[in-house]
Each structure stands twice: as C-alpha cells, then as structure tokens.
Amino acid sequence: MSSIYGLNEQALSMARYRLLEMLEQKDRIQFDSTGEHLYDHVVSRIKSDESMREKCRRRGFPETWESALVEMRDALGIRVVCSFIDDIYETRKALSEMEGVRIIEEKDYVGHAKDNGYRSYHLILEIVNPLRPDPKDGPEKLYAEVQVRTIAMDSWAALEHKMKYKKDVRNQEMIVSELKRCADELASCDLSMQTIRDLIRNAK
C-alpha cells in the first residue's frame, strides 16, 4: 500500500526543513543582537502513514492525500521549547514574520490555561507548497501545527500525556488534581524566573 500522502512526502519534508531553517535563522539574529537565544530547542515530526490513516478513519474521511493534507492540518508538527515565557510570544512574532508562511489559526493556552492546567501556545501555519505540484497530485498549500511552550510546560505535558494514555491509573482523580496543582506551581516558577530575568536586564 502506498503512503496516504501520495506524491507529497517530499513536499512535506521540504516544508519541514524550510520552517526549521527559518526558525534557526531567527534564533541566530536574536542571539547576535542580545546574546540570548529565542528558544532552547525545536522538535518536529511528520505524522506516520499509519496514524494519519487512523485519524482520517476516526474522523470519517476517506484515506486520501486530500484528507491528510487539506482536511487534517497536523501532518507536519513542530514544537518550539523556550526557556522563558516571554520567548513564547517572541517566537510567535518570529513565525508571523516568516516569508511564505501565514498564521491561519492560533490559541493562547498560556494566557488561558486549559482546565487540566495545560499551557502552550498553539498555531496552525499555512505554507506555500515548495514543489507546486499538479492540482490533481497535491495541494497548493501545506499546513503545520506548531506548539510553543516553556521547558516546564513541556515536561508537564509529557507527564500528563503519559497518564492520559495509561489505562487504570490508581487514584486517577487525585492524580489529575495533583497534576493541575503542579501545572500552576510550574507556571508560577516560570513567571518568577521571567521576573528575575527582567530585574537583571533592567539593572544593567
């Protein structure tokens, strides 16, 4: 069986590296002018053929490249992990200034945390398909789902993910409320660190 992405695997891969390259460039510019990095690290992935097919089936879409690349918008996923809260918004700004990239949707779960305590900045980017394929073979635009968060938010999300996908956790309710408390404590630490960084900067 061929890939659900059809002939577009290479286009996805090119879009991925183009985005990573532009992020690196923004980081380099910031580091050269301020001596501080825009982010700590970036991870990225292309959703596997198997999980994309599973998702399309679950959502009731046929297993075609149109479903995978037009209806679904997370074939390409990028996570930018920052040291400080303000860097999240700086990264958002950097993304908004990239050539050939448009933010078509964004959700600020940093300013408006989810009920379970989850915090991250989510964006959906629209990127010009670098291969410009024949319309019958592939889309004109590709999408990428981007999550921007601090290191603390990232480790929290990893822990929460572990719990969510593990069946029959003992004392589930207690663990959920402890995770919420942890998320709020980490948020508080992130804010304290941001404040200390600002105090040091202003003292210069």
Partner: protein, 222 residues
C-alpha cells in the same frame, strides 16, 4: 469535635467529660502532664483543656512542650490558684484562655465554643476581591487562570487583599511580611511585588499593585 482534657482529679475529670460528651464533643482524657503531651503529639484536637497543677509534669511545662512541636491547637487552662503570676505564665506559655476553679461548666462550654469558632474563621482563609481569589492554605491565586504562590508571596498578597486601595510603604510591608527574617533587607519587597505583578497579569486579574521600587505600594482595582 475532638477535645483533650488533662485533669488529675478523677472525679473532676469524670464530671467535665460527662458534660462535654453530653454537648456532642469527643473527649480523650489524660491524668498527668506527660500523658497530655503524648496524646497531643498523637492526635489532632480541636481544643485542649489543661489543668495547671498536675503530677509528673505541670500544665504550663506540658503546654510549652506541645507548642515547641509546632502545635497551634487552642488551649484553655484550668487553675485552682487565682494568682496573677500563674495566669500570666500560662498565657505566655501559649494558652489562649484560662478559667479559675471553681468555675461553672456552662462557662467552660462557652469558652470552648468561642475558641474553636475563632480558629475556624482563621483557617478557612480564602479571600476574594474583584475576580481574584486567594486560597491561603493552598497558596492558590486565581482569576482566569490559577497559579500557586510561595509562602511569602501568599503573606504579601493576603496583606494587600485585606486592605485594598491603601498605600503601604516598603518598610511597612517588610515589617509585616518578613518580620521573622533577620538576614533579609528591604530590597526583597520590590522583588516580591514584581513576582505578584507578573502573576496577577498571568491570571488576567482585575487587580494591580501600583507603586515604584523602594516607595509605597497599593492594591488597586483596574
């Protein structure tokens, strides 16, 4: 509610216990000071009634040991002596109230009610001002989002919330919140005000702390 009654005279102990139980209290009894300290360390009481004159360890020494362990349970002393020195020493050792023998059991009941009521109010500490709620024990500050505060941040925030729209100098804030910290200097106030400001913003609060470094600060509605 559970009470500890430490009284060495058997008949007296029996009589007080009967009245307390008739009024819905669960009562543990101790017959000397050592036993009282032991029970206090093992159980959580809502109030303790200690006789001053007891064998092995007197009530005042027993209370000093209980308080030294960090126990803040309300305590009422029973004393046969009405000497001023005893009462003063008892209060200084950490008692909340005293009764001089002979006393009416009705009065003892009223004083227990008063002490436990006061404590209840103190402990259910949660203050709301505008859209902002501070749960003191949990250290949770919330509006649109919630964050957890460090102990000193809670103290400072509580102080502001209890007197909104009032100006406090850096010195006043320092002496209220950092009175136990001899090795700190007043600059810490600005750091903590800065923490609270960023946290109020992060929960999208409708309150803000106004003021400049080293000057006076006030908690204002936006």
């Amino acid at each position: 509610m559970r009470l500890l009654l430490a009284e060495d005279e058997k008949e007296m102990s029996k009589a007080i216990r009967a009245v307390l139980e008739a009024n819905g209290y669960a009562v543990d009894t101790a017959f000397d000071g050592v036993e009282a300290v032991e029970l206090a360390s093992q159980n959580a009481y809502d109030a303790m009634i200690l006789d001053i004159m007891m064998p092995k360890l007197d009530g005042i020494s027993a209370l000093r040991q209980i308080r030294a362990g960090g126990d803040v349970t309300p305590v009422i002393f029973l004393t046969a002596k009405s000497e001023l020195d005893d009462r003063v020493e008892g209060l200084d050792a950490g008692a909340d109230d005293y009764l001089t023998k002979p006393f009416a059991l009705k009065e003892l009941l009223a004083r227990i009610r008063s002490m436990t009521r006061r404590r209840g109010e103190y402990q259910t500490g949660s203050i709301t001002l505008g859209a902002v709620t501070l749960k003191i024990e949990e250290g949770e500050l919330s509006a649109e989002n919630a964050v957890r505060l460090a102990a000193k941040e809670v103290r400072l925030m509580e102080f502001f919330m209890r007197s909104p729209e009032k100006e406090f100098s850096t010195q006043e804030l320092f002496s209220h919140v950092w009175q136990d910290a001899q090795d700190q200097n007043k600059d810490i106030v600005w750091v903590y005000v800065s923490y609270l400001r960023s946290k109020l913003r992060a929960i999208d609060a409708d309150l803000e702390i106004t003021g400049e470094e080293g000057g006076s600060f006030a908690l204002m509605k936006k």
